[in-house]
Symmetry: C2
Subunit: 260 residues, 2 copies
DNA sequence: CTTGACCCTGACGCTGCGTCAACCCTGCAT
DNA sequence: ATGCAGGGTTGACGCAGCGTCAGGGTCAAG
């Protein structure tokens, strides 16, 4: 006769596990000796080994009981099911690993490589870390909303950085946030530049709208909100822009006529 | 400003998940509107997307917070750890699958192929299902205790079945259990056979002990117990065997002189 | 007689939410 | 004004498979 500890040792499991199997009815409660100790016979050992064999094979305990009583056909069917579940789980984890492999650097965390390249380019032209962080967050939102289109947009965005005025714009913005003074005179220059660029884009018929519909208004609002939340000078610039007839950080467009 | 539902939809998660992230402090609780509704800005969306990206990559939520604040070196280190854990988990599951693949039939459940072959052989010579079930359980115990040695023992065991007396023994035992009468006269014949075989083995110097030590006494006791538990005629046979000077079902040996 | 190694039951903890329950708010159609 | 659908709020239990206390009692040996 075995105590619970001996039984567990024989089958290579913990005492707690054996008690757990009792609780869920997988292993019948054995007789007790005078002092209340459980005492097990050989059949319990066999049963426990069977249980562990199935459990080690990845069978959920809830199904182990049924499987041990099943006829060969039902058994085979259950094995099939379990195997399919294991396959799925392995696939899921493998996908996770591929994801993890892409997390080597901070930037590539949530962003596709072309966007990371764009951010790197921004850094090269002297953009400050705070502006970069803001840009990164913005692109995170964009990549979440238009995961496919964003890849098409990147060549255009990248090309814009070849325009010295755009470079100047980012440098000005960097200086402004880094200086951190209340009424920075360079704000005016920024607004001039932005208006100039917007007007040129309008003339060329490219309003940075690409293929987004009205469903996306909320997304653009979020992007603008993001900029405003990042730095209060952003709000000031938007105000000045509105006075000049333009609205929106991300999707700059003509201010709609106020109704009435 | 977004409600919790809009936020969740934007990031592709459930409302419940968002609230969970609040609870565990992964996502800061936002402002409330006059009626107590949470209202979120763009930064929350970004944060939520970052969280999901790491979580989807298999990072435990408990580590996500730290990782999002970590410097690149610490981050890379953490990524390494996560990847190792994922590898382990995948290996575990793959091993499970290999196990599951071996579970096609009931017999091979816990037993290595040579033992299954032996059981098949037993069935062929006309052994009854109940005896077979007992044998199977016995071999389960043996395979659990001596997983390596059992493979060495099988050729001998298999060869024993070429002896007509052994075949006769199993057939007699089968008839006895199937008949299920109290004082089956065939029991005598069984005992005669067993004694004959034991004496022959003794003469040949092979006492079926192989390389087991005294630590294994408990295992043999279990095996004998298993037989006794399976059928009460087993006990009767053991008694008769003891009268003839032999003890033990599995490791038959001379009865030790009673002390005193 | 003490000590250490077991045994007992009962209960909480872990992961990442799903799923009620019971109630309040909002916006639209009637 | 009313009703209703479809949001939102907190609180709490449930899941798998045990690990891990807590607070006892028991056994074998020195």
């Amino acid at each position: 006769m075995l105590t619970i500890g001996q039984l567990a040792a024989y089958a290579g499991v913990t005492v707690r596990a054996v008690r757990h199997y009792h609780q869920i009815g997988l292993l019948p409660e054995p007789e007790r000796d005078t002092s209340g100790y459980r005492k097990y016979g050989a059949p319990a050992v066999v049963q426990l080994i069977k249980i562990r064999t199935l459990a080690d094979a990845g069978v959920p305990l809830a199904q182990v009981g049924r499987m041990l009583e099943a006829d060969p056909a039902t058994f085979a069917e259950a094995v099939e099911r379990i195997d399919a579940q294991l396959r799925d789980e392995i696939d899921r984890l493998a996908a996770s690993r591929r994801q993890v492999a892409r997390l080597t650097a901070g930037d590539s965390l949530v962003l596709p490589p072309p966007v990371v390249a764009y951010l790197d380019r921004l850094r090269e032209i002297g953009t400050s870390d705070r502006i970069l962080a803001g840009e990164r967050d913005g692109w995170i939102l964009i990549a979440a909303r238009w995961p496919d289109q964003v890849l098409e947009w990147m060549p255009d965005k990248m090309a814009q950085l070849d325009d010295p005025r755009v470079v100047r714009l980012y440098q000005l913005l960097s200086e402004i946030v880094d200086a951190d003074v209340v009424d920075d005179p360079r704000v005016t220059e920024v607004v001039d530049l932005m208006v100039e660029l917007a007007e040129q884009a309008e003339a060329a018929g490219v309003i940075d709208v690409h293929e987004t519909g009205q469903d996306d208004d909320i997304s653009f609002a979020l992007l603008d909100d993001l900029a405003d939340a990042a730095d209060k000078r952003a709000e000031r610039i938007r105000e000045l822009m509105r006075e000049r007839g333009w609205d929106g950080w991300t999707r700059t467009q003509r201010v709609k006529e106020p109704p009435g």
